[in-house]
């Protein structure tokens, strides 16, 4: 049993690293899909929380894209600048999400709403 699992894992691993060394063929579409999904989510999602989630999905997608477009060099070491960018980006995303969630929660406490009121730009403001 264990050998079978081990064989399956190592085959899987070989497959993945094969794909990885084949280049960007997996990560590029993945990243792009995530970005598009996140974008759509931010634009269309009804509730605040979902928009925040979509923001995170989009962010992750951007990071994946970065990695896809900057594959590790021949020595196998990932691009250090890309790593730095992604780490910073994650930290920023966490901070922003935290702020958003806190605001949304307070807003819910005050109004019981999970969605923002309709945009009244063109209407006269009262």
């Amino acid at each position: 049993m264990i050998e079978a699992w081990g064989a399956a894992l190592s085959t899987g691993w070989e497959g993945i690293s094969g794909l990885w060394s084949a280049g960007v063929s997996v990560w590029l579409p993945t990243g792009s899909a995530l970005v598009l999904l996140g974008l759509l989510g931010m634009l269309l999602a009804p509730s605040i929380l979902r928009q925040l989630l979509a923001f995170n999905v989009m962010g992750s997608g951007i990071f994946v894209l970065l990695l896809a477009l900057r594959p590790p060099g021949p020595s196998g070491v990932a691009d250090p600048v890309a790593q730095a960018l992604i780490l910073t980006g994650i930290v920023i995303a966490i901070a922003a999400t935290a702020l958003g969630v806190r605001l949304a929660r307070r807003y819910f406490e005050l109004t019981g709403q999970t969605e923002l009121p309709e945009d009244r730009d063109a209407a006269r403001d009262d």
Partner: protein, 490 residues
């Protein structure tokens, strides 16, 4: 060696002050802020005084890996503007917030962090650092918008946050595309790289498009302005001043930098025309909506929407090989300064009137105008600059824009530049005529507000209304031709 510290300090010092203000009790915090502002003034003067534009590489790491800071004339202009507006707003806020109030306690640290982010945005020579600066500015601004904690403020803050986050992601994506196609994050070398490797222009175009959308969203260029009126109009007065005067400007500055960098490599004529047309629509839309507002702060917020439109007009002439390019750049910077000073003054003055009247709508401000003539004078002078009457900075900006349009052989824009004056005058005078209405209620004797509030507004307004006299000197100092030097000849 000490010069190398000036630039990072401009970002670091406000952060430190912000932290200190958060931690210290009220009296010490006030003292720290005074000290902090004076120190900032010293830093800015130090930067201005240096004969060569300063550069700093943090940690000694040079490009493309390091974080570079660069203080060219554009950055210096914005540093000075930010210093002036902040000095006035901080002084104002000291008197505006009741002593020891919760609002004040929240305001100070966020305001100083915003300052740090703004400076970082002006000084960064590095694409990713620009992204970080935009984030810092955005989060601080959202925090400031939500300051009162009421549901309207929270809704406005949330809408602002979501718009800002969307914009940030788009900008990040643009940065990623630029980095992966050029291998460098340094702004000044991006253009050179792209010119060298002509094949990657699709990535650069996509990146520019994404960045433009992102920055237009952050600068509230119509039709992407939906978040602005609620945020600026409902916020506490000092916050409105900071948001309208400064936060809108940093994203525009970054857009300018990208534009200047990529214009020689990509053909931006059509894009410039499109943005300028959007700007025209924005200025009409904002002005018309401003005419229908019943609350003074919303009117001023919509005025910002309109004025942002004007800021985008020069992009139609800011093209390599164009005759009006240097003038267009100069006009944009002048307009950034004029609007920053005038809008801050307007919000501060309006805040005084609203405080005095106890209500926000135009009709009931009549009595307040009689009680606070200095604030009203500030409002008038700021309005003069907004309309663009001589000798204001706004007029100088408009004059340069008109000359740029004529030089670039695009005289139809003149019609709008001139016509826009009348629309702006319409909504400004809607406010100014208040002074001449008979008092609707008996003249109440209310406790007068501290003069300091009006004086802060008045100081900024005087700068805006008479700043045109310094336009010639400023133009020489700015040396727009030198800023465009890397564009080469016509």
């Amino acid at each position: 060696m000490t010069e190398g510290l000036l630039l990072p300090l401009l970002v670091l010092w406000p952060l430190l002050v912000g932290l200190g203000v958060y931690a210290l009790p009220e009296r010490a915090s006030a003292a720290l802020q005074v000290l902090g502002t004076v120190a900032m003034a010293g830093l800015v003067v130090g930067v201005l005084a240096s004969p060569e534009p300063l550069r700093a590489a943090l940690g000694g790491w040079a490009a493309p890996l390091g974080i570079g800071l660069h203080a060219d004339r554009l950055a210096e202009s914005m540093l000075v503007l930010t210093l002036l507006v902040y000095a006035a707003v901080l002084l104002y806020a000291q008197a505006y917030f009741a002593h020891g109030s919760e609002l004040a306690r929240r305001f100070w640290p966020l305001a100083w962090m915003l300052w740090a982010g703004l400076n970082a945005g002006y000084l960064s020579a590095d694409l990713f650092n620009l992204y970080v600066a935009l984030e810092l500015v955005g989060l601080a601004a959202v925090g400031l918008t939500a300051l009162t904690g009421q549901s309207t403020a929270l809704a406005a803050a949330l809408r602002y946050l979501l718009a800002a986050l969307l914009a940030s992601n788009l900008f990040l994506l643009a940065v990623v595309l630029l980095y992966t196609s050029t291998g460098s994050l340094a702004l000044d070398s991006v253009g050179a790289h792209l010119a060298a490797t002509g094949s990657s222009t699709w990535a650069a175009k996509l990146a520019l498009a994404l960045a433009l959308v992102a920055l237009a969203l952050k600068t509230a260029l119509a039709p992407l302005h939906f978040w602005l009126p609620a945020a600026h109009g409902n916020a506490v007065t000092p916050v409105s001043a900071l948001l309208s005067a400064l936060v809108l400007k940093v994203s525009l500055l970054i857009l300018l930098r990208l534009w200047l960098e990529l214009a020689p490599v990509l053909d931006l004529a059509l894009l410039g025309l499109l943005l300028a047309l959007l700007g025209l629509v924005a200025s009409v839309w904002g002005s018309v909506l401003a005419l229908t507002q019943r609350k003074i702060k919303m009117l001023i917020a919509y005025s910002s929407v309109a004025q942002v439109g004007y800021l985008f007009l020069p992009l139609a002439w800011l093209l390599p090989g164009g005759l009006g390019a240097a003038l267009a750049l100069e006009a944009t910077v002048l307009h950034l300064l004029a609007h920053g000073l005038a809008k801050a003054a307007m919000f501060l003055a309006a805040g005084v009137l609203v405080l005095s009247a106890g209500r926000d709508d135009l009709a009931s401000l009549r009595g307040a105008v009689a009680r606070e003539p200095l604030a009203f004078a500030a409002l008038t002078l700021a309005g003069v600059s907004l309309i663009g009457l001589p000798p204001s900075l706004g007029f100088a900006a408009k004059w340069q824009m008109m000359q740029a349009a004529l030089l670039a052989d695009q005289w139809p824009w003149l019609l709008w530049l001139l016509g826009g004056t009348l629309l702006s005058a319409a909504y400004v005078f809607r406010v100014l005529r208040l002074a001449f209405l008979p008092a609707s209620e008996a003249f109440e004797a209310r406790a007068p507000l501290p003069q300091r509030l009006s004086l802060c507004a008045l100081a900024l307004a005087l700068l805006a209304a008479f700043g045109g006299f310094g336009a010639a000197a400023f133009s020489d100092w700015l040396a727009a031709d030198a800023l465009l030097g890397h564009w080469g000849g016509a």
